[in-house]
């Protein structure tokens, strides 16, 4: 008995251990081929494995096994990629190199994970003649391919990459990326130069300090002082110029940020140091000042890099959204074309599951389109020839052909995007914590400096008064805060990015930590965005028949019915299934006529609804459900109610968010009863749930709650949420959202559900606690150093020691807080 159990366990282990030879994921039990040397989890992986073997690139697997990354099953065969050879595509993405008569393009690859991918992709020139070079950047998952157009076509290159399991997409937004790269390089140069200057000034400073007790010969001392001054002035004006510009910009708009007290210290120190060098008297402060500039730049560099990473990850998602559509030519041939190349008057074919590429009018075909991302409606709309369709809606029914009416700015999405710009412009300016501290600092330091100057003026005259005031101003520079705050934020952003929460700005974290109003969009955020059977009334024997009749339906209602009812065997099969475009299915079963569809469809087809069913239907519809009636020979026999299911973690997440100081409310474009029903089920009070809201109303709602005071956090996924996301204190776009909402939001959560939102708020609060603690420590250092300077005890040597020590303490505290958090 026990032995048997052990055997069973052993067998379970071997089954679990059977892994796909391509992607190393477990192979589903049904796909294991006994006796075969190679096992694959899906046909995609098999195809890729065979391609790689055929090209003699098996070393890939050796490299991959060493990399310890997790892989996803490969999905080759994503298309013909013919569109990559069209002139429109070339004009948009391909760069010509005229001197060498080659072309190059940046392609974003899906499925790039580790070093082995770099190796495999960069073997491309050896596999495909005519490809001159392929360079993959792991961080950006982007490959730059250079090829000879006389020998190979780009479509062929794309197909080869696809056959290796990396589906290529053209990299969008290259002009913006170019600017970002330039910015990043500028910052890096500043950092490097500031570091070199700091090192050299410190060397000179050491020599000067070492010479203090013994006394240094005049000419050497002068040389050292002048050289320090020269290096220090370069450090202040070139890399340090960033602070001066930022402070000047703040002063010009009559605000104060943290750069103002920093600039004050740098400026006073620089002027006093230079004067003392020229007059050959007193202290020069350039060693301390150049250290300051370098440390401040280090903190900023880290925060900038983390934000860039999050930003790049969002850009990547942008590029993965399909950029091609099916264009119908004059002669009826269907070709692939880039969406950007569409013109008004073009005829496009929209297949089932495709997004509609532009605003247009349906010419042929009857289908249903899902506008959830555009309007928030969870129930698809029926379309027929003559109906208008909007760009961004998804065709969930059969094939449609549509005439393009408007493209770009003229489309509905284009208009929504201009609304987003308005939202961004009207974003409430919330004073950042560090800026508040900066204001307090500036006020305190100015008062202190004035008092010290006055005191020493009375006691000892102008020269010591100036000396002590300058020393005070320099040692109280809030450099620790300027370094530790961005570092803490950078660590928090980095940790969130590993949990698939992409934060585009540190300011968003600070705002999130405050708590306030949490406005949630319904579709896709609280719910799964997919219909499910909730109730069935009437004749239960009809259930398998309905499932069989709806089996071929592509309508979401039909799919939901098949999903819920489809597992029982069907005897007898219904015959003559006709899916009607006006909302239902007509079929015959044993000579009886069956009608399955919306109440309007069933009544229009001549069936009568008995009062009992009608009453129940009304009650269900008032409660936000979608109803389907089944009529047999003109008499109503069954009633099904479908609902958009609520995500399983929603209730838990909302409770956690309430604890963290948020009041949730729901704002949705869906019908009022649906919204109210969802609100009741997730225990949000009815007066905090509003339905049937237009994008403009959402924007206005966000403005109103911002005017009430307090933070407004908006969570949404649709194009209709984009403007509100942009205008809210913090806009959070969630998994599966539209491109527009990604662009408008401060944070993007790349995992489904609300649980990551809880993690986001918790991390934000933790980061703010660490920042406050750092502030306290650095303030006590400042008070101590300021007191020493004020009493005239402070020597430049003590200042040069205290400043790095205080920085080190605070940095250690910040690092400790983060590592401790990791251990939890």
């Amino acid at each position: 008995m026990i032995a048997d159990a052990d055997n069973a366990l052993d067998r379970a282990d071997t089954v679990a251990a059977t892994r796909c030879d391509h992607c190393a994921q477990p192979v589903p039990a049904g796909l294991i081929e006994p006796g075969s040397e190679r096992q694959f989890c899906c046909p995609g992986c098999r195809a890729v494995y065979e391609t790689i073997r055929a090209c003699g690139l098996d070393s890939y697997y050796r490299l991959r096994d060493a990399a310890e990354a997790t892989f996803k099953p490969a999905a080759p065969g994503a298309g013909s990629f013919d569109v990559f050879d069209t002139p429109a595509f070339e004009g948009l993405y391909v760069t010509n190199d005229d001197t060498s008569r080659t072309k190059h393009v940046d392609l974003i690859l899906e499925g790039v994970t580790c070093a082995a991918c770099v190796w495999l992709v960069e073997r491309l020139p050896k596999v495909l003649g005519g490809v001159l070079e392929a360079r993959l950047s792991l961080r950006e998952a982007t490959v730059r391919v250079t090829w000879d157009p006389t020998r190979v076509t780009l479509a062929r290159i794309a197909r080869t990459l696809d056959a290796f399991g990396y589906t290529p997409h053209p990299a969008k937004g290259q002009s913006r990326k170019h600017l970002l790269v330039k910015d990043e390089r500028r910052r890096l140069v500043h950092l490097g130069i500031a570091g070199a200057l700091m090192g050299n000034t410190m060397l000179l400073g050491f020599a000067l300090y070492a010479g203090l007790p013994a006394g240094m010969e005049g000419p050497f001392r002068t040389l050292f002082r002048w050289l320090s001054a020269a290096l220090g002035v370069v450090a202040l004006t070139w890399p340090g110029g960033v602070f001066f510009r930022s402070a000047w910009a703040a002063v010009r708009t009559r605000t104060i940020n943290l750069d103002v007290p920093i600039t004050l210290a740098l400026l006073v120190g620089g002027v006093a140091g230079a004067t003392n060098v020229v007059l050959d008297r007193g202290e020069i402060y350039f060693d301390s000042l150049s250290v300051l500039v370098f440390l401040l730049l280090v903190g900023r560099w880290f925060q900038y890099r983390q934000q860039r990473r999050a930003d790049a990850a969002v850009e990547l998602l942008f590029s993965l959204t399909p950029a091609t559509c099916h264009l119908v030519a004059e002669d009826g041939r269907v070709t692939d074309a880039p969406v950007e190349a569409l013109k008004a008057g073009d005829l496009v074919e929209v297949r089932s599951g495709d997004l509609i590429p532009a605003d247009g009018t349906v010419v042929t075909g009857r289908s249903a389109v899902n506008q959830a991302l555009l309007t928030g409606e969870s129930v698809p709309t029926e379309v027929a020839p003559g109906s208008a369709v909007s760009a961004g809606a998804q065709n969930v029914g059969s094939v449609l052909r549509a005439r393009v009416d408007k493209v770009g700015q003229g489309t509905r999405v284009g208009r929504l995007m201009s609304l987003v710009e308005r939202g961004l412009a009207e974003k409430p300016s919330i004073v950042q914590f560090t800026d508040k501290v900066g204001t307090a600092f500036t006020a305190g330091v100015s008062l202190g400096a004035a008092a010290i100057f006055a005191y020493w003026m009375n006691r000892a005259g102008v020269t010591p008064a100036i000396d002590h005031t300058v020393a005070f101003l320099i040692v109280t520079c809030p450099c620790v805060l300027g370094l530790a705050t961005p570092l803490t934020l950078a660590l928090a952003i980095g940790r969130l990015a590993r949990a698939d929460v992409l934060v585009k700005s540190g300011a968003a974290l600070e705002r999130l930590a405050r708590g306030g109003r949490l406005i949630l969009d319904k579709t896709g955020t609280l719910t799964e965005g997919r219909l499910e059977l909730a109730e069935w009334h009437g004749d239960a024997s009809l259930r398998p028949v309905v499932a069989a009749a709806e089996r071929l339906s592509s309508h979401p209602v039909g799919k939901a019915l098949v999903g819920a009812l489809g597992d029982s065997p069907v005897v007898p099969q219904p015959a003559d299934v006709i899916e009607r475009s006006d909302g239902g299915v007509r079929t015959t079963l044993d000579g009886r006529t069956l009608l399955i569809g919306s109440p309007t469809f069933v009544t229009r087809q001549g069936a009568s609804i008995c009062p009992e069913f009608d009453g129940r239907r009304r009650a269900l519809e008032a409660d936000g459900a979608t109803t389907v009636l089944v009529a047999v020979d003109g008499r109503c026999a069954a009633l099904a109610a479908l609902r958009d299911r609520i995500r399983c973690d929603t209730a838990y997440a909302l409770a956690a968010l309430r604890r963290l100081g948020y009041q949730p409310s729901i704002l949705s474009g869906d019908a009022v009863p649906v919204v109210q029903s969802v609100a009741t089920r997730v225990s949000v009070p009815a007066d905090h749930a509003t339905g049937d809201v237009s994008p403009e109303d959402k924007l206005a709602f966000v403005h109103r709650s911002a005017a009430d005071g307090g933070m407004t956090v908006m969570v949404g996924d649709g194009v209709n949420d984009a403007a509100a996301l942009a205008a809210a204190g913090v806009g959070i776009a969630v998994h599966g959202g539209a491109e527009a909402s990604l662009a408008a939001a401060d944070v993007y959560i790349a995992r489904p559900g609300l649980a990551p939102l809880v993690q986001l708020v918790e991390t934000a609060r933790h980061a703010m606690r660490v920042i406050r603690r750092n502030l306290l420590v650095s303030l006590s250092y400042n008070v101590l150093a300021g007191a020493l300077a004020a009493t005239g005890v402070m020597t430049p040597l003590i200042a040069a020691i205290i400043m790095p020590v205080s920085s080190a303490t605070v940095l250690c505290l910040a690092a400790l807080a983060i590592t401790k958090r990791k251990a939890d």
Binding site: G56, S137, L138, V181, R185, V189, I193, N200, F220, L227
Partner: protein, 55 residues
């Protein structure tokens, strides 16, 4: 110790050369991607075209 009048400026000139080299490297994009090149250097080039590759 008068040598310091020559050595010290010389050292600074060297530092300036290093800075110029750093500037050049950054502008050439050598710091744009720090993740991929350290991996690339480890690959052995097995030259699959030399082997009897399956056609």
């Amino acid at each position: 110790m008068e040598v310091i009048f020559i050595v010290l400026p010389l050292a600074l000139v060297l530092a300036a050369v290093a800075c110029a080299a750093f500037y050049w490297a950054v502008q050439r994009g050598q710091y744009d991607d720090l993740d991929t090149p350290p991996l690339r250097i480890l690959f052995e080039d097995s030259r699959p075209t030399d082997r009897p590759a399956a056609k």
